[in-house]
């Protein structure tokens, strides 16, 4: 979470020590991420339920997704997690240049992910696989295939939204990074951002097999 700064000191007035401040920030960020787990959890629950009710429709609909793009994006995102971790490390050891470079790399990889996602979405529009009035699906159970696409767009859309927010924050962090805003003593904001970014990666680690890899062996 954000650091409560007060005056020139980077120890907020209501904390007694840096340690207390750091522990509060870490715990706060984790608690926030737990709410995110449950936020996505509602969609995962709906997904699991409908998939278990209509396995065939889900399999058919899933086969229209491009597994290569999905895998590529997974790799991109994992790479961005690595760079993000290194950016945080840069803060820990007080190397602003490292932090800056790694944040930039993370930003680039995150944007790549979003670009690939945009290509995939465009393809869905093209094939009328977007739920709604224009939806069209060749297959025995189009209704429930549509349900799959609802969940596909719901889950990846929410994930992408998190990515966009993350990218925006990263962009805003570049200048402070160069200025050396994060020191070994207090890099709570950087650390918090790292946690957020890794969390978004985690969600994708689950989304990828759940959405793209259903019954591929058929």
């Amino acid at each position: 979470m954000s650091v409560e700064t007060h005056g020139a000191s980077d120890l907020a007035h209501h904390f007694d020590s840096y340690e207390q401040q750091k522990e509060s920030a870490t715990l706060g960020m984790w608690t926030f991420l737990v709410t995110e787990i449950l936020f996505f959890g509602g969609l995962f629950a709906a997904y699991s339920l409908y998939r278990s009710l209509y396995p065939e429709a889900f399999r058919a609909a899933s086969h229209t997704l491009d597994i290569r793009l999905g895998a590529l994006n997974t790799a991109v995102l994992i790479g961005s997690s690595l760079t993000m971790a290194l950016a945080v490390r840069g803060g820990q050891i007080g190397k602003p240049k490292v932090t800056f470079g790694m944040l930039l790399a993370t930003l680039a990889l995150g944007s790549t992910f979003l670009g690939v996602k945009a290509i995939e979405y465009a393809d869905k529009f093209h094939h009328h696989h977007v739920p709604g009035a224009l939806f069209h699906f060749e297959g025995p159970d189009a209704v429930h295939a549509q349900l799959f696409f609802s969940l596909y767009f719901g889950m990846t859309g929410l994930h992408a939204l998190h990515m966009i927010i993350g990218v925006a924050i990263l962009a805003g962090m570049l200048r402070p990074a160069l200025r050396g805003a994060w020191t070994p003593r207090n890099h709570n904001f950087l650390e918090g951002m790292g946690l957020y970014w890794h969390f978004v990666d985690l969600v994708w680690i689950f989304l990828f097999p759940l959405l793209y890899l259903i019954g591929r062996h058929h």
Binding site: F15, D16, S17, Y18, E19, Q20, K22, E23, T26, L27, W30, T31, L33, V34, T35, I37, L38, G41, G42, F44, A45, S48, L49, S52, L53, I67, A71, T74, A75, I78, G79, S81, L82, M84, A85, L86, R89, Q92, I93, P184, R185, N186, H187, E191, G194, L195, H198, F199, D201, L202, I205, F206, F208, P209, L210, L213, G215, R216, H217
Partner: protein, 108 residues
Amino acid sequence: MTHTQNSAAPAPHVMPVSTYLLVFLALMCGTALTVAAAYVDLGWANNAVALAIAIAKSTLVVLYFMHVKENTRLIPAVIFSGLFMLLILFVNLLADYGTRGWLGVEGR
């Protein structure tokens, strides 16, 4: 809960870069493995394998990238409380949808 030392900064635990690289490699291998496993017919186990790999991958991310390995025990407790609630959501949904029709009365 005493916080007396006012200026002493906590020395951050710094993991070596090599650790991060190893984790990264493991995650990439995991991804390749999931894709490969999806093309092998394992019956019901396909889902289980995919999930198991995803869980293993996320454990790595949580422990190393997210530094939980070095944090206080409280953090895992927080994470598990969230996962526990998620589990409750799934299990109780299953309790409903999984037992529909057992009575042989429609709508029950």
